[in-house]
Structures are given as structure tokens and as C-alpha cells.
Symmetry: C2
Subunit: 407 residues, 2 copies
Amino acid sequence: MQSRRAFLAGTVMAPAVLRGASSYTWTEVEKILASGNVKGKLTKDDLPTPALLVNLDAFEANVSKMAGYLKSKNRGFRPHGKTHKCPEIAKRLVAAGAVGNCAAKLSEAEVFARAGLSGLLVTTAVVGKYKIERAMKLAAQRPDTIFVVDNAQNLRDLDAAAGAAKVKLNLAVDLLVGGRTGIKAGDPAVALVEGMQGLKNVRFAGIQAYAGQASHVTGFEKRKQVSRDVMATAVETRRMLEKKGIACNWLSGGSTGTYNIDSEIDGVTEIQPGSFMFMDIDYNRIGGADGNAHYGDFRNSLTVMATVVSKPADSTAIVDAGLKAFSTDRAFPPETKDKMPVTYAFGGDEHGKLTLGEGAYAFQVGDKLEFIIPHCDPSVNLYDRIFACRGDQVEAVWAVAARGMSQ
Amino acid sequence: MQSRRAFLAGTVMAPAVLRGASSYTWTEVEKILASGNVKGKLTKDDLPTPALLVNLDAFEANVSKMAGYLKSKNRGFRPHGKTHKCPEIAKRLVAAGAVGNCAAKLSEAEVFARAGLSGLLVTTAVVGKYKIERAMKLAAQRPDTIFVVDNAQNLRDLDAAAGAAKVKLNLAVDLLVGGRTGIKAGDPAVALVEGMQGLKNVRFAGIQAYAGQASHVTGFEKRKQVSRDVMATAVETRRMLEKKGIACNWLSGGSTGTYNIDSEIDGVTEIQPGSFMFMDIDYNRIGGADGNAHYGDFRNSLTVMATVVSKPADSTAIVDAGLKAFSTDRAFPPETKDKMPVTYAFGGDEHGKLTLGEGAYAFQVGDKLEFIIPHCDPSVNLYDRIFACRGDQVEAVWAVAARGMSQ
């Protein structure tokens, strides 16, 4: 972060504003993009905006840090694919030591499986005749896939379908620890798992306990308390099962906000964080274990690059990124990557309205800026590709192949 | 809308909840979907959720009403493609009498052009070397395309590029009437148009005056006042040009909220509404010319269908549609199509949490519901296809081919 004084002295503008254009024609750029072989050929300035960028140095540091931390704590690392929806990233995570990848929905998992990935955990229950049919195909193709269940009828449906498809289904019980899906911890969960024991076509895989609400509690100590309280019910359920002689060797939970909390809890075997690889303003605000209000364990690697398309007044610039370029589910707007004296406000579906502070008036039509994103997951879901950059060089173009796969 | 009493008597559940499944396998459904020939073969219950549906009866009534109204007022009808991003819909609008279609961005217009559409108006200025190159290709391919400009340097760049590409570019001046893009009405706009007169490769097309803020003013009389005030500056600019001997036969503005206001203003020649075809909760709230708080000129044709995937308590049901299934830029949540005693709250990226009122406890895992959308444009932009339905029958699958085309 640069100081305001440095900005006013004119030393900050350079990294964010890419003036001029390369000597290519657009036809040439299109050909390079289509070839997939972009390294050494394209810079950020060659990209049409709005564009979703990842800073590879920051991304790689984030992945390495999370993988290293969880390894040091002897916990499994199964990062959540709902964040990136991108098989290229899922493969890099496995290369960094992940045991596999989570997928929020069946259709997302299908995309990962088609790309050759295994070790999949589908974190939402598979419901309905057609989806169960699809799940059986996925299980046949990738036998180590874990599905979740929180409902006795759904369990019977899955067992029957698995029998008909001649597959053995790995089924975890989804615990209600996050105020959303799942069966109540303790007796109800134990009863559901006991119900599995008599079924021929399912294998009890363990417990999923994802506490979404704990991840975003502001203040580390408070977050720790919330997460420990709710995860205690999951650990207790695991103990109850083991007392009954039901082996339960797997308990998956945690998030970017609680990775260093849940991995200290005895009984939690695996962490499923997602946002850590990109980060966003929302997670920056939850506060770190070091007491800082800014949660800085991971770097902000993800940005949206936009272009000024109109300058209706000296202190106002309109960029080409609006409601369709950023998710809007948080109460705060995007921020410039280089902390410029620029305030972004949504200007409808297609535009953002920048109020330019002193020193930023120099922005002109055609200038480009990068913005840090309020909430990464639903923003990534707006784009078909991520441009992976090292400095201003574009090293790779990654397809967001599971974009829109919410089914 | 059904009464609460009728709902409690159990007569409302039927239309929204589609129990059971057809006799197809998913493999058969996939084949039918891939064939594109779905009519008479699929019902809503065959669709994977979350799914974006359009009620064809309501959609056709909306299109027919808007086209008929504008024809009766002798105004051009150039509906905005940013709402639907769907060439199939753009073609239907032309068939209903539209003079062409608007596109918010160049890449959106390119999709429409590739689908064979002409009469395009690109409503955001085309900025930067590569985009100008692309615009010249579009102009060569569809010579009746109108582009907009609000900046003298951009005007010179466009003229030079048009000269090099040997095309004659139709250029409208984009007026600052909506608090976003554009040049100030009056003298600044006139000066820009005068600057066009000496250029060899551009043809002055007229004035674009889109007042986004006027569209959503609550209360018809207040909205009328706001729109008339701001559109007066556009009409005055037109008069100033004509006084100088510059022909200005085209003035495009208006929206779903002001179609019956702006088409009464002398000098406005064309209306560019978008949301009327789908409608949303946001537009329902602006109030009608009839004095009703509910703006009911057009029917709600667009819904998202979701499935209950968990039932953690009698009064709570979790559906599979969350932040990635609905846009979140409005302060109010989705509502059930049939006005059930059900309150939706976002439950993260992937889920919605329904608080079930008395009488709605009967919802079970696997049941499906349809939701009216808070804001149609950015919600459509989340989906790759729209399922066009007549009653419960799926008549067609329309590709949202310009989804994500915000460049």
C-alpha cells in the first residue's frame, strides 16, 4: 500500500494505469488467445475489459502457505472449487498437496471429473431422480468421490440407485452447523449414520461440518469461540459414533476464516477453504490472529481490470465494469488495487462511477484500473476466463469451466 | 395471486410444486436438450435446478403490448439487448416490430451481429485501439449499426479508424442525462456534433439520451416530472442543432419505467426499453400511471426455479439457489411466484433459506418452487440458457449467447 503523499507525488499511477497499446492488431490478439499459448506474448494492456485477473505471485504464495500450514498441522487440505470453478486451478491445488477438491454442486463436480480430477467432495446433497442418476455416473467414473446426505429418504433413494448402478457410494453425513443444510448434530445424526450401516450400497465416509457463519465473524478471538463451539458438536457426534463402534475417520470443515482455528481442534481431520487463494475485501475485514483489523494471512490476488469510458466531469470517471462485473452481495464497493483516492459506486448493470479525489483527476478516457473485489466467489462466477498474470505479463488463460454450474 | 385462505386450504401448492418425475432417464433428457427440439417432450420438472424460466404467455403479451403502444405513438421501438443477451429474443422483438436492438457493449453487439441481427445500437462508447478495430469490423458487417460518442479525442480516433477501414460510421452523441456517461447537453454537445461535420468518415446519427435514474423513480407523477425535466435538455439540444442547420432526426431514450412518458415528449423519436419483457420486483415497485403502487403494465414472465435440498426444521427449507442464482443488487429478496407464505433469505453462494409460514411446512426435500427475481438484467447474466415455457411445458431452450459479454 502506497501512502497518499506518494500518490500525490505521482509515483503510484504507473502500476495501475496502463497507457498505450501494444503493436498487435486485435485479430492477432484473438489468435494468440485462441491458441492458449500466451506466455511472453501478451500483457494486461492487450486484454478486453472488464477482465478478471489473478496475480500469480500472490496466488502461488497463498496456495503454498495454506498447503504448508495444513501439512504442518497434519490435516487434509481439500480446497473448495466453488471459489474458482476452474479445473486448471484445481489441478494446481492437487500439485500443491491437496487430497482433492470440493464442489458445491453436482454439476460443478462433473466439470472437475471431466477434466481428470479425482478426490471430489460434493458438499450439497444430491436430490431428485435425475441428479441421483448423474451422481451414480460420477461415482462410477471417480469411485473416491464423497457425497453428503442429511435426510433418511434421500439416503434410501441413494442406496437404491447405487444398487441398481452397481456402485458403492461414499456418503458423509452433512451436519447442521452452519445454519443452512444438514441434520442436527448428536442423536439425529447418529441415527442417520446407523441407518446407513444396514445398507448394502453405501459406505459411511465420515462427517461434513461446514460452519459458514463462523468463517466471517469479525475479530479472531470471537471467531475462534464461535467456531470452537459449533465444531465441538461435530467432534462430539464423531465420538458418539465411535462409542457405538462405527468408525469415523474423517471430519471435514473449516474455511479461509477458520483454517488456523479448526485445525487446532482434535477430531477435525480436514479443512476445506476456498477464498484464501484469491481473498477479497470481505475477508480482509474479519481481522487476523495477530490482532490486526486487516486479515492479512493471504494476499489479494484477484482483481477486475476496467477501462474509463467516459469522463463527464474532472472529478468523475465512468468505467466499463458495473453490476455484471462484480458481485454485489456485500455492503461495500470495489476498491482500487493501489489504494488510490478513488471511490467506486455502482452505476447500473454496465458501469461504475468513480469519484476522483485530489490527484486522481488525471484519469482519462482509455485509462485502465484494477479493482479488488468485495466477494470473490460470486464475482468469479460472472467470468468465462481468468487471466493469470505475472507483473504485467499474461502467463496463462484459465477457463472458468464450471461457471454457472450451480445445479 | 391467490388468497392466504386459499393457500391454507391447500389449493395453491399445486401450480408451483412439481412433484414426481417423468419417465425419462437423465441421459434421455440430455439428448432432447442437445437436439434443441424440446417442444412436446419436456416439462419444467425435467429441468435441472436452479433454472431460469420464461413464461411465454406473459413474455409474448409484454412484447405485443410494448410494440403496439409505441407503434400507436409513432415512436421507434429499439429494445435493449442487455436485458436478455439472447439472439432468439432479439429476433422475436424484430418480428414484433422493433427497428433493431440495443447492445450495452461492443462484445454484446458482436454476438447479435453474428446471429444475423442488424439495426444495432451500441449504447456505450467504444474506447481503445482494439475495441475501435472491432467496431470497424462490425460497421463493415452491419452498416446500419449506430455507435455513440461523448469525447472529442474518441471522435477523432473513430474517424481515423473508419477512414483506414473504409467504412462510414453512424455516430450518435451520447448525452449526459443519466448521471453516468455522456457529454453535457446544450453547447458542449452541439460543439461535439459540429466537430463531426468536418469529418469524412462519420455520419451524425442523432442523440442518445438514456436517463437511467428516471426509470426507477417511484410514483408515476414524480417519475414523469423527472423524466420530462431531463429529456427536455435533450430535446433542446436537438433544437439547437437544427437551428444551426444540422439535421437531427433521431433521439433515442426511455425505458420500461418511462415508455409512456417519453413517448409523449415531442422530439423523442425512439424508445429503448428492456425490462418490460421480463419484469422484476424492482420495477413492480415503481408504481403505475393508474395510481397503483404495483406497476402492472407488464407481467412478470421471468422466474428462477429451485429445489428444496434440505429441511433442517419444520419451518425452514433450504433451496439450491443462492448468490450465484439471483442478482443481489437490490435491497429485497426473491419472492415465490405464487405469493406463498414463504420468506427467502440468501444462504450464501449456493443456497437460499426459506422461512416457511403456516401452511407451507409441507415443503419437503425434492419439491420445486419458482421465484420472481429482484432485478432481471444481472440475473439473466448468470445463466447460459433460458427455458421458454408454456404452462408446465418447455417449448424452447434459448441460449443466452451474450452472457458475460460486458466488454
